[in-house]
Symmetry: C2
């Protein structure tokens, strides 16, 4: 793990949440992105060398829709930047961490991502992310 | 807000959680601290320019004990470093954010801290923190 890359926050309504977080953080949203494969619409805010990522469900069958329905709005995941995502997955698997998707998949913001199960990470959904080099 | 200062994670058992997070993050815990006034024992991990703070209840009447009993282990708060905590509190109050303790109080790691109510921050317990200059 190199650093915290971003904190993902599940919201019910991105149009309402965006001005709220702009006011709270004192910085404008600099990008929105639909990640169709994950059924989420995202909005990004820069905060020093990290980002805050708001996540709104774009379809009711997605993970964010289920999360908000069950737990309400709030922190959804912590994402850590890694140097070599495949190597980090192997390191963590050997240590007993449960990997949700062993093969990295395309996430928002030009990243390849792997999720670790909260059950093996003390209740925290952990995302590993590495900048995509192929695009 | 200058940057994310740390992410606070509530844990049931610090002795179990510390080696788990050391393995996950790949970095040793560099400090533990009892914050008696808040009824918490904390453990800190450096992650780039940010910290991960684990929080274990030191007394059953504390906020962390209640959080873990109600929601289980997981992310408890996001802390942002601010330049001038009193000025930031006034800015946020004017914008309609609900401040839990308007007068900054002593937190862990040599900080003065103010919490914002999750109800006004999209479900996220937000901590503002400023380095103490008096000690």
């Amino acid at each position: 793990m190199i650093k915290i890359e971003h904190i993902g926050i599940a919201v019910a309504d991105l149009a309402q949440a965006t001005p709220l977080y702009e006011a709270l953080l004192g910085t404008p949203c600099y990008k929105t992105e639909l990640v169709a494969s994950e059924h989420v619409r995202t909005a990004f805010f820069k905060m020093g060398d990290q980002k805050i990522e708001l996540l709104e469900a774009s379809k009711p069958e997605g993970a964010i829709a289920k999360f908000v329905a069950k737990k309400g709005e709030g922190v959804h995941h912590i994402a850590f930047a890694v140097e070599d995502i495949n190597q980090e997955v192997q390191r963590l698997k050997k240590l007993g961490f449960q990997v949700i998707n062993e093969t990295p998949k395309a996430g928002a913001d030009n990243k390849m991502v792997v999720f670790l199960h909260p059950k093996s990470c003390g209740g925290v959904l952990v995302e590993l992310c590495q900048e995509r080099k192929d695009i």
